[in-house]
């Protein structure tokens, strides 16, 4: 499987890609890929966007606090917050005092909000659109930003099964659930790929925030510019494929899975969606309930993806001023 993936994704860097990779400190294959997706001027804009650190974002926990009052209290401490309109409960921290940090105020400890490094993480739960009566699975949930957002959107009703393979990160997840005062969450620590064989329960809604190369978050972790070799990428893709297949196996008929990564690599996104759709006839890509950003790309290098990937969401750092993200909704059909 990995050999096949490697054959598909291997890309030979051009001289220009090598020059840019050298200038910005990237692996050349990554730049060649960007040059294949967009014009060079735009590639430069993307690389420059990755050099700028983004301001953090908070999600007001309106189950515990009135958001206007929270913003007033944080303003008194010296924070300046700007509402992220499409999210309803998200605010960008545009100015911070020297002390305290946004993640250490008394309001934070009391569970009045959750802190993200960027706003893009707010999109997948909104696209999943959970209702208070739903039973939702978050397959790779730690440290819990999206799982607690889902539980909050369900107004403390219904059930969220928040699973993660990492023992250490699951503890962080439990602490966030407790801090935010959520009581509709069950936390499990299991390899999500094995879940369909172990549990019989089938879900109406599943969030799969797949462990990825995190190539969309280079602004937070510049080491990502060189961390992932093409072989590593193939292994990550294989894991993403098996996770997505497991997710579909656990859906009830008519149910949806929102597949998301914090990577801008088409190999981890449109490629994964295409491979899965081509391998089975019980699932299709559907339009999301919201897309204020870009659409998925239909081709790249020598790869041609299914046309339905146009229905997926792409968040670009240079276009949208956010971390790079990919979000795609798949529905199980009979």
């Amino acid at each position: 499987m990995i050999k096949e993936i490697l054959k598909d994704i291997t890309i030979e860097p051009s001289l220009r890609a090598k020059e840019l990779a050298n200038r910005y400190g990237y692996r050349p294959y990554m730049i060649e890929r960007y040059l294949n997706i967009m014009p060079e001027e735009e590639v430069i804009q993307l690389l420059e966007a990755f050099e700028r650190r983004l301001k953090p974002v908070i999600r007001c926990n309106d189950l515990r606090v009135n958001c206007d009052e929270l913003i007033k209290a944080l303003s008194k401490l010296g924070f300046e917050l700007r509402p992220i309109k499409w999210s309803g409960i998200g605010y960008r921290v545009v100015k911070s005092p020297k002390s305290p940090t946004i993640g250490s105020t008394h309001e934070y400890l009391k569970g009045y909000y959750y802190v993200y490094r960027d706003a893009a993480s707010l999109i997948p739960p909104i696209v999943l659109d959970p209702k208070p009566s739903d039973v939702v699975l978050d397959m790779c949930a730690a440290p819990g930003g999206k799982a607690t957002h889902i539980a909050q959107l369900m107004r403390g009703s219904g059930v969220v099964v928040a699973n993660d393979i990492s023992r250490r990160r699951v503890i962080a997840l439990i602490n966030h659930v407790k801090r935010l005062g959520l009581t509709n969450v069950i936390v499990t620590n299991y390899d999500a790929r094995k879940l369909p064989k172990v549990i019989k329960l089938r879900f109406k809604k599943i969030l799969l925030d797949a462990p990825c190369s995190a190539e969309g978050g280079i602004m937070f972790d510049p080491e990502r510019k060189v961390k992932t070799s093409i072989n590593d990428l193939a292994m990550i893709i294989e894991r993403e494929l098996s996770l997505l297949k497991a997710a579909i196996d656990m859906l009830e008929e008519g149910g949806v899975v929102v597949y998301t990564t914090c990577s801008i690599a088409p190999e981890e996104n449109e490629y994964v969606i295409t491979k899965v759709i081509e391998s089975r006839d019980d699932v299709k890509v559907v339009e999301p309930n919201i897309n204020l950003w870009s659409r998925g790309i239909e081709e790249f290098h020598r790869l041609k993806f299914i046309s339905d990937v146009r229905k997926c969401i792409r968040v670009w750092p240079h276009k949208h001023g956010m971390e790079g993200f990919f979000i795609c909704t798949l529905r199980k059909i009979s």
Partner: protein
């Protein structure tokens, strides 16, 4: 996670009765749901039917947490309530019991892991006995910011508060668990 033993249920009930007599049953009825304990000695209460059904369906995964975190129980020790449990009961019953309300200075110090000094205590709420777990309440919004162990009974505390100026730095409640511990997010949060 496993079902809590009868002994644990008895200890939790004993604590709640001590604070609220049988009034607590209006807000939480342990016999109507499951009381669960995980490997970190954290106690969770699950009463919602839907949650119980899903929990049964995923029980094979050995869940680590589910429902409402109500406190901790260590073998051979007493039940330690969680801030969330006491806050829920105060809000549900409309009354604060077994608590010390503290000033801004006290809130800040307590959230840094320090004990409560006499000078920070603004108000005390019955019942308080020496060695009892009490909640520490922020005077501004009445939010429970942690759990402490009282070093004095209610009467003694009342007397001490009259002579606050003389015994300013006297430690009256030791820090057992404070919300500041949530800053260490990947650590199992045990009471001290």
């Amino acid at each position: 996670m496993r079902r809590a033993s009868k002994l644990i249920v008895k200890e939790v009930t004993k604590y709640l009765r001590r604070l609220f007599s049988n009034d607590y049953l209006r807000c939480i009825n342990l016999s109507e749901g499951y009381l669960l304990i995980n490997e970190f000695n954290e106690l969770f209460y699950v009463s919602d039917e839907r949650l119980i059904n899903v929990l049964n369906d995923v029980w094979v995964l050995k869940p680590l947490a589910a429902g409402f975190h109500i406190g901790w129980f260590f073998r051979g020790a007493e039940f330690i309530p969680s801030p969330a449990l006491l806050e829920h009961l105060y809000s549900c019953l409309g009354v604060i019991r077994g608590a010390v309300e503290v000033s801004d200075l006290g809130v800040k110090a307590f959230l840094y892991g320090n004990d409560i000094l006499l000078q920070s205590v603004i108000k005390i709420y019955k019942p308080i006995e020496k060695g009892m777990y009490v909640s520490v309440v922020d005077h501004l919004d009445k939010h429970v910011i942690g759990i402490g162990r009282s070093k004095y009974g209610y009467r003694e505390l009342r007397k001490l508060m009259k002579f606050k100026e003389l015994e300013k730095t006297l430690e009256v409640v030791s820090n057992v668990f404070d919300l500041g511990r949530y800053l260490h997010e990947e650590v199992t949060l045990r009471p001290k």
